[in-house]
Symmetry: D2
């Protein structure tokens, strides 16, 4: 009816991405100035990673388009082709939906595709979580996406400063805090022993007693080492004889060798005390985080969400290299003894105090307000 | 035989790109430390834009792969899809050729495709001509490509400074001058009256008498105005009653509306004194540049090549916005009177002195030397 | 509301295809049992070939999706890639629209794409105009599409028989006559001298006096000869000194060499008496057909529409090889004298009586009735 | 050197396809009249399905190109997109390799892609195993490929007759027998207890004692039933308490639901007596076939290879519908009791006599001879 409404198109390309953006999506949906469009695609629609269509519907969202873009095989070529076909597919979708702004988030390889498509269609791009530094190909992708984007929602001060340094217009760079952290701050998530042990495979883990959590993703720039590193991590964790909930890696070059290492380990060692999950509903997952005595691996969850929750983290390897961290993180290389030493140290230390380096009050509201009112522009210009 | 040789893969996606890189290509081909691979694609292989396969062969080069990627229609969607399919195609080719370095040049939309493909395959990227500022989508593409690249050959000091500012490692940023300018400095190109008037369509233009040249490309971020702007430019130039050689636009979103404006103008006005070219061999083209009393339009040739040649240039519109220029350039908006005024002023002024803001001695040799000896790395890291 | 309605998705991939299907589309739109979906794509949305979106809107149709799929360059590779990307794009669209039947028509290369996409999505396919025999790659494509299709609307008895012979279920093969012929039978189309001479380029042609029409498309299986053949045809027609309206070829491998031949001829010979059209509205086009003293070339229009109109036709070369024809057609090879001889013979003969080999009363109604009531099936089975 | 040699390009898109074609490949490689080109792609290069590059190399073959084309997700859309991108990729490869003939085999969805690509490039196509009738989408794909192909190697008389019926030129239709059957007739394959139990997961199966084999692939036209049908089959087989070697399904729409059913069954039931294989080297696999007391499932191996070996087969469901069979096959629907009854009946019956309905002496030699000497043509023509 009211065609004055801004059409804001939010792109969801992974399940965790959806959870981390849920508050923003609710704000946008409920904002009268805005017509919310949702496009789902990438690994968010792969059957092994949880059915995002179902989750969206339960949460009261509709999607306007669905994009099949992931090539099989876990190779670098497959990842590049996924990106390329993604550009082609998002171009068709954006041309049909004609949004005023496209909102993308993060650094995964599925995010460069909508960025390029929107840029060529002269649609302004808002990017959440630019300016961070990490390892892997994500480091290149994240900054390239910044150079295609028009509105920047950094999650911390350092990142905002870096975005400006890259020549972006300071009037369009906002440090609003991390929506994922606000999401856990605003909800009282609890894990259910029953659900955790109904989903996944392996031993039953009593979540009321001490347990470890592991999230270990591939490092795309070191693919030859992913399988070996995973074996080291499996042995280090297993030999501690502490009940463990282990999460399967996300879809990236190298995923298959990590999965293979896990499968072989399970077949050969028949590990006790360990349970393996491909996917848990977000609330359950965060509920678990609050209970674990230590999160091990290389997920950004350890850096961001856990800084606020005060969960002890052993961050392994180069994937989160140089990312800003709170005191809850101890780094370790892929070495069995050093990993075990760091875990023992974290268990001894126990819970850390809450850090707010990634937290601000009202993150999602700020994002929605800015998106609905800011002056839009198309032609980018390097700000010297 | 000697598998110690570095495999350097040079990507050629447009005809002018090839000419501007010819000296570098010769250096690389003749360097014993290097095995040169050439991939052609994009508009370089479209029949209307000159047969690059022929030209390469005449110049003693072979190509290792050929990539068909351009979608028809001149729309934004077509441009985005060209980019996306390009990523997919380059991934296949690089996976087969397995180069040690991929070399790309410039800012056209066909350059982001090989950059992304190489990045995902963990192949180091050398980028020629990063750090410049311009208008159109090229402004975003150029800087995004910088963030994917590992070795940077800037053509001027300002550009080099900007690349470092964007977080690139200063040890990998080199101001080597512009290969295109070195190319014209090192050759004594002459145009042939006979050839110029055998190719193309329209009136015969006597190139020994004063004549104008026009190169007017689409502005992708202002596509709705391309046709009208072209009409203004056509009228402004036509009504001066000076013999004119006009070059068809390159392939970009908006090309079709520019072409349409030219076709309609030709049919309706049957313009005298004007000759229209889709393509001239590079040597002929530069020979013409040396003779013209003024180059009009929005090509980077006016900014770069003409700075060295001292050719008077009327730069029209926003396409070369804020690019560093020598004194040979007068800017004008798309307004008939102002364009005509600027042309008259340039004719009156005549030839300018040579500028070396884009020139260095030995540009191509420096590039070849660096490419064959520099330490290669894959994992990028933002340099604060 | 009424979700019992059958969702019928009609694919329009070229302009002439749209015109030929217009009556069917009207029937489907106005049928209460049916929810009509329209997908446009292929050359139908290329700017040089007439804006099908405009035409649809004027005629009271909406489209549900638009597919950019044509690669530039006119090469065989470009044609294959167009087909491949088309499959990928149609899959996305059909998955979103979820039609009960997909309706496709003809033999052009853009028709195999929706056929494959629909087949893999288990959507029943209705194919109009299967079973005909012709030359070029169309001969293969048409029959392959038959083997993917579930409901067959043949335009003549021979074609219906051939479809059954290929193993299709006779209960799903219908000879309904040609919708294109019904379309001209049901409308009193007239050409306007003013419009014909406002559009296109070249000499004014007085359509109230005798004139020739030429439609000459590429033969994809003989691409090396397309340019030379076009030159022969141009000379043969030009040297007759009869006013001529010449239509640009459609998009196929070889289009560029035909276009090139025409452009060179126009530049060099500055042909009098000739007018060149890229596109005319269908009604105008058929109005012209009724007036021409002879249609020359290799278009199926000469075989189908002209059989009913009794227009004398000189069919040149192999493109319509062995297609069933009425007495209005004389065949000639690409030989100047033989083409001229055949044209002279046809002029002398004058108008032929109406033939109904491609005509039935109520074609479109039959199609709509069958589509809305027939039992649908997915699993095909060779009928021995 | 000798550029008179015919360049024959053999396409390998699955592992089993490679094994079944090995003798032909050896003939072609060793034939002096022929230059053999090999293109690998599709599921043949997916890590979970055995490394075809390794196998080729061990067998003394090189590949000329490798094509990544499979989309992830096991959905119909993924399958259609795989086909589409495959067309695009094969077009690039064939354009580069410029073969005189492309040889393809079978009916899987990866076979239509090279067929279309070759057809648009005017390269004659030789198709092995056309004319058979089956269920699933393969039924459409196989016959569509026939309509694109120029030389037909049927594996049995019925199939040859059907190909001619479809309008193919009888002079180009050859019943040469099945290369896969010749392959097992010409080799004395034996399975190794040690290797069979080192690869795969699950219980150890003593292959010197009676055991069942199961191969159950998805039915693409009945995807909603694949999971349930697999559960039925799992229970039927499991409850017989006979040691069983079960093979994972191949990549097709529906694969994921079959895999899911197997995974859930393994987790919940911890089945004894059962071993699960993703991949076995061909020789081992055929060695096992010779020893099994019954092959259960819907693989064509049961119809073709087992007819010659005399192995008792229980063919379940519609996938091999109406395919010509020898007396060794008993059909059963997806019903627990009927499957169990049929298996018991086959066990009781024991080994069948050898059938030669799919066997001819010298199949591969005939194929190589015809490929190297037959007159080639491009333009197809329906033979009435």
């Amino acid at each position: 009816m009211n065609n004055q409404k801004r059409k804001i198109c939010f792109v969801v390309t992974s399940h965790i991405h959806y959870s981390r953006s849920k508050l923003v999506l609710e704000m946008l949906r409920d904002d009268e100035r805005i017509e919310l469009q949702i496009v789902i695609g990438g690994s968010a629609i792969l059957p092994n990673y949880g059915d995002v269509e179902d989750t969206l519907q339960k949460d009261g969202f509709n999607h306007d388009a669905k994009i099949t873009m992931n090539f099989e095989g876990g190779s670098h070529v497959a990842m590049a082709k996924t990106t390329g076909i993604g550009v082609s597919e998002f171009a068709t979708v954006f041309d049909s939906l004609k949004p005023d702004i496209v909102v993308i988030r993060g650094d995964r390889h599925e995010v460069i595709s909508p960025a390029i498509a929107a840029a060529y269609l002269n649609i302004p791009i808002a990017h959440i979580e630019g300016g961070d530094v990490t390892g892997t190909i994500d480091e290149s992708v994240r900054h390239a996406v910044t150079k295609f984007s028009h509105i920047h929602f950094a999650t911390n001060e350092e990142a905002a400063r870096r975005i400006v340094r890259m020549g972006e217009d300071p009037r369009y760079v906002f440090n609003v805090g991390c929506p994922a952290v606000e999401y856990i701050a605003r909800n009282d998530f609890q894990a259910s022993h029953e659900l955790v042990n109904r989903l996944g495979v392996g031993d039953v883990v009593d979540i009321e007693k001490p347990f470890l959590m592991v999230m270990n993703h591939p490092v795309t720039t070191e693919t030859s080492r992913n399988q070996e590193n995973t074996e080291i991590l499996l042995q280090a964790v297993h030999d501690l004889h502490i009940p463990t909930i282990w999460f399967w890696p996300n879809v990236d070059a190298g995923t298959d060798s990590i999965s293979k290492a896990i499968r072989i380990f399970r077949e050969k060692r028949d590990p006790h005390h360990m349970r393996f999950h491909k996917y848990l509903p977000t609330g359950e997952f965060i509920g678990l985080l609050k209970k674990t005595i230590c999160l091990v691996g290389n997920s950004s969850v350890g850096i961001k969400e856990c800084s606020y929750l005060g969960v002890p983290v052993v961050n392994v390897g180069s994937r989160q290299n140089r990312r800003m961290r709170a005191e809850n993180v101890i780094d370790a290389p892929f070495d069995k003894e050093q990993i075990q030493g760091a875990i023992r140290q974290q268990i001894q230390n126990g819970q850390y105090p809450q850090s707010t380096i990634y937290y601000q009050d009202g993150t999602s509201k700020k994002i929605a307000d800015i998106l609905s009112t800011i002056n839009l522009y198309t032609q980018k210009q390097f700000c010297d």
